[in-house]
Symmetry: C2
Subunit: 197 residues, 2 copies
Amino acid sequence: MVGPEIERLIQLLSRLPGLGPRSARRAALRLVEKREALLIPLAAAMAEAAAKVKTCAVCGNFDTIEPCAICADHRRDASQLCVVEDVAGLWAMERTGSFKGRYAVLGGLLSALDGVAPEDLGIASLVARARDPLVKEVILATPATVEGQTTAHYIADRLADCDVSVTGLAHGVPVGGELDHLDDGTITAAFRARRRF
Amino acid sequence: MVGPEIERLIQLLSRLPGLGPRSARRAALRLVEKREALLIPLAAAMAEAAAKVKTCAVCGNFDTIEPCAICADHRRDASQLCVVEDVAGLWAMERTGSFKGRYAVLGGLLSALDGVAPEDLGIASLVARARDPLVKEVILATPATVEGQTTAHYIADRLADCDVSVTGLAHGVPVGGELDHLDDGTITAAFRARRRF
């Protein structure tokens, strides 16, 4: 009933995070309905992104310039290196505006199950960057999940003989978070790390 | 921090149903991450859909042929005309496999608030189609919402002097539906339309 062109559009859209088969179908319909206002501009924006956006060879960020705007910005603090799982993590750190150093994007997390080894995450080149005498601190900002923390511990071990201090993001109660909605592990971590009021 | 190309991609993606600003950002990242496997094929699929998919001048369905495959299929029952709000409604009817007639896609619902008048929905041409002596029944399958039912009543009035029987989808308990999860209106409608077991 649906032509192969729309079927293919639905199938590709359903691979985007947040879109299941049903919402991909709705999205495809909206696109075809809004041909001039949405479908054609989005197709053009995607083609442009595909043509122009590159992965920064230094840090792994996405940008149209190489090295990326963050690596090329000499006002950024070269003494701090923040390790994130992916570019989404880098963007999240940038949104806070609280970090002014450089990044290393792993592009994943160590996982025996999925066969992700240290070589796949470019950890050797991260260690090489950390050996730069300019670098004083490596901040491990991988997710607070089992895989994220396993990866952070592995990197900390690999950095043991580098002359840098290795730190990690603090665990605790999210700002605005209700205790009753938090898991026990977070509350325990927040209790242990309690600070003078 | 994000280049203008990715910013534009996020902005356009966030206009798809089911994607808010945050999930549009995640989707844009996934696209750039999966450049060869997802971004380039999706850009191409959208360009192809934009070039090939047309609105059927007879019924309002989307297809690459004109008139659409449903209107062109002579095995479909020309005596039944099913009125739906949009192509999503047409697809939903088609998925059931229970309707073998033709369609009329309104492309919206009457709404004083949004300034949608009968002319905007092509109701005159729907009435003209219903006057074809081949047409025996018009099935009003607009949504069971206030606007959907207002539109259905308006169309029924306009069809009053046509020689067709005008029907509507039955209200009742959805198959698999728990009474406790249903609104009172649905239960009342299902009770009033109760049938011998």
